[in-house]
Symmetry: C2
Subunit: 103 residues, 2 copies
DNA sequence: ATGATAGGCAAGTAACCACTTGCTTGTCGA
DNA sequence: TCGACAAGCAAGTGGTTACTTGCCTATCAT
């Protein structure tokens, strides 16, 4: 459906959200507060907790982030699977060899 | 640079622009008017010529569309190379298995 | 229980973006 | 040269969105 791609690309459109994805790529399973502090420490992003929370909601609706709750903690895990949708939609020019296979 | 990715993802954020990319995937080297008529015919998109022109400008600044001028015609060619940037930034889970999740 | 910690909900605001409208430039055929 | 066609430029507008502010809920340690 179009709606899925719509959420996906809209989620990727914001630089802060992309930075969050970077952060989760490096360390998956972070809590909201952990993401907040790392964004401000490592990326010098002065951003409120609520803003990050809203960004995470957008990423989750796009399927790029999955969450699991444990007690009062909520862990956020990265899921890059939806990105495959992009590569399948517009085929890349031949790079050097077949892709999707790590030798 | 961040600015390049910024233009790229912003360009992909709009559904009309993605449809234009689809159209150019199918037939590269179209003029502005050709793209307009095909958008309205094949995709039922009632959109003005200027709107398409602005979309093409965004796509071009993102490097997804390249143009060449011949007389009074300006042809638009698709270039999916910038999309490789996405796959490199967030590595996809292994495609061999049905569901990829690192244990 | 009480205070502290982790997170959620909702409304308001300022900036951004897609689209339109109107006019202008440049190129080709008659 | 004149008219028609392809495209460019610029300002204005309505809707979207990122962010803040303020308050509320839930879980845990003491």
């Amino acid at each position: 459906m179009v709606a899925v791609a719509d959420q996906l690309f809209k989620a990727l459109a914001d630089p802060t959200r992309r930075t969050i994805l970077d952060e989760l790529t490096e360390k998956s399973g972070q809590t909201l507060f952990e993401i907040c502090s790392r964004l401000s420490m490592r990326h010098r992003l002065g951003i409120s907790r609520q803003a990050v929370s809203q960004h995470l909601a957008v990423l989750e609706s796009a399927g790029l982030v999955e969450t699991r709750r444990e007690g009062r903690y909520k862990f956020h895990d990265l899921n890059t699977a939806p990105l495959r949708h992009i590569a399948e939609r517009w085929p890349l020019p031949d790079a050097s060899g077949p892709e999707g296979n790590t030798p």
